[in-house]
């Protein structure tokens, strides 16, 4: 590629890794959302503890649960495989899937999958550099790459790298189980604040990655903190536009506010970005406050959400739908009132120019 060198930034190894992990996540999201929602449907039909007595029943709910569980089993393999794919292209896929499946077998979970995918990626990149005679070039990608990569990376993971990761996962697991009310609130508040800080930017994605990882490993409480907190921001800013009225918000902003309510229901936070860009500090403070309180309460009250995405459409699948709606509205109102108060009134005789309108979606 005739790459144009940027004057200000250059692509570092860190950016390469980050893009690769993001690619893995983008392939994983439909799998984890699908699996979570399907399992939730099964639970709604056959009872919340259907997973515990699967062998004693033979109903439609069981069949649906079976689908959901199998889909969930693919979450970690898919992220591992597509991280490796993003780094090393096609030869990364097969060994990547194996590393993901291995992560499930040796209890290294989501973290194990990500690390495994990265290992495979670098190993294949290294293998590709080895010069071989023309005659055997053809068999490299179909025989040598998958066999050698899987053996080397797989055994390395099994005997060496996997050990500390599985200890780490066990430590996190027992740590989360043992958290008391107060520290659960703090963790939830941190998750909520990070989610609501930059609305789909790097900080939000970091928190979402952590929470989705826990979800893939079977911890469903942080997921509700993430989703409920994320849904408060567009609702809050939308409310603020109505509370603040004509004195504080422009015509186009109040027009956008209407779509913010719909976006809030869909858990699409990105609608807040135009507001965040124009008035970063005040928007961030209001959103983080509402998000942190909602997130903290979600964690403290032990609200579980099996689905990592879906907004209002998956509320019925949470362990306590009414509580979820309550916390969502609570956080939204806090953000809304706070921002309506913080926002500066428009200057006298303010005329809107074409430039001010940042359109969205």
């Amino acid at each position: 590629m005739a790459e144009i060198k940027r004057k200000t930034k250059k692509k570092s190894q860190g950016a390469f890794l980050r893009d690769s992990i993001m690619t893995g996540i983008s392939y994983m999201i439909p799998v984890i959302v699908g699996a979570g929602v399907i399992q939730a449907i099964a639970k709604a039909m056959g009872g919340y503890d259907i997973g515990n007595h699967m062998d004693q029943i033979d109903t439609l709910a069981k069949a649906i649960m079976l689908l959901g569980q199998n889909m969930m089993n693919y979450v970690v393999p898919v992220i591992a495989a597509f991280i490796a794919y993003a780094m090393a292209d096609k030869p990364g896929l097969a060994p990547g899937f194996v590393m993901g499946a291995l992560a499930g077998a040796i209890n290294t979970g989501f973290v194990g999958g990500v690390v495994g995918g990265i290992m495979v990626g670098y190993f294949v990149l290294m293998l590709k550099k080895i010069k071989v005679p023309k005659a055997i070039q053809g068999i490299m990608p179909i025989l040598v790459y998958p066999v050698v990569t899987t053996l080397v990376c797989g055994l390395l993971m099994y005997y060496v790298v996997g050990r500390p990761i599985s200890w780490f996962m066990a430590w996190i697991t027992s740590g989360l189980m043992a958290l008391s009310g107060g520290s659960r609130f703090v963790l939830g508040a941190v998750i909520g604040a990070m989610i609501c800080l930059d609305h789909g930017g790097p900080i939000n994605k970091t928190a979402a990655l952590f929470v989705n990882g826990l979800n893939a490993d079977g911890f469903l409480i942080p997921t509700s903190a993430k989703m409920c907190a994320g849904m408060t921001s567009p609702l809050g800013i939308g409310l603020a536009c109505f509370i603040g009225g004509k004195k504080k918000f422009t015509e186009s902003e109040r027009e956008q506010a209407k779509s913010l309510f719909i976006l809030s229901c869909c858990y699409v936070q990105e609608g807040v970005i135009p507001f965040l860009m124009k008035d970063p500090v005040r928007v961030a403070i209001s959103c983080c406050t509402g998000g942190a309180i909602t997130g903290g309460l979600c964690m403290m009250l032990g609200l579980e959400s099996p689905a990592v995405h879906g907004g209002a459409f998956v509320i019925a699948m949470t362990s306590n739908p009414l509580l979820f709606i309550g916390l969502w509205l609570l956080g939204g109102c806090i953000t809304g009132v706070l921002y309506a108060l913080l926002r500066k009134p428009l200057p006298e005789g303010y005329e809107e120019s074409e430039e001010d309108i940042v359109s969205i979606i």
Binding site: A2, E3, I4, M22, G200, G201, V268, I273, I360
Partner: protein, 102 residues
């Protein structure tokens, strides 16, 4: 002047399309012809064709993930940026591409 672009983000439902529409709008304002391929959650949309590639002068890739079929642009001057940069500062990116092309 004919500019091609590809936008993509991890979730692929909002940033991808916001970046695409911002680039399109900015280019139109400057009187440039532009075509943006989006690689969102729905897969590839508004695909760049062979004819497009033949006519193109430069490429903008605004993405936080590894995009599909990047090798298409091997022979074209290509500017790679993050997807949020295209949402915030589409004008700056197009300007940077134009300067580099001169």
């Amino acid at each position: 002047m004919y500019i091609l672009g590809v936008t993509s983000c991890p979730v692929g439902i909002a940033h991808t399309y916001m970046a695409a529409s911002n680039l399109e709008k900015t280019a139109k304002k400057k009187g440039l012809e532009i075509k943006i391929e989006t690689q969102g959650a729905a897969g590839v949309e508004n695909e760049i064709t062979k004819e497009d590639l033949k006519r193109a002068d430069g490429v903008i890739i605004a993405s936080d993930v590894r995009i599909k079929n990047a090798e298409r642009f091997d022979d074209l001057p290509t500017l790679t940026v993050g997807v949020s940069e295209a949402i915030k500062d589409a004008e700056g990116i197009i300007k940077e591409l134009l300067e580099a092309l001169e």
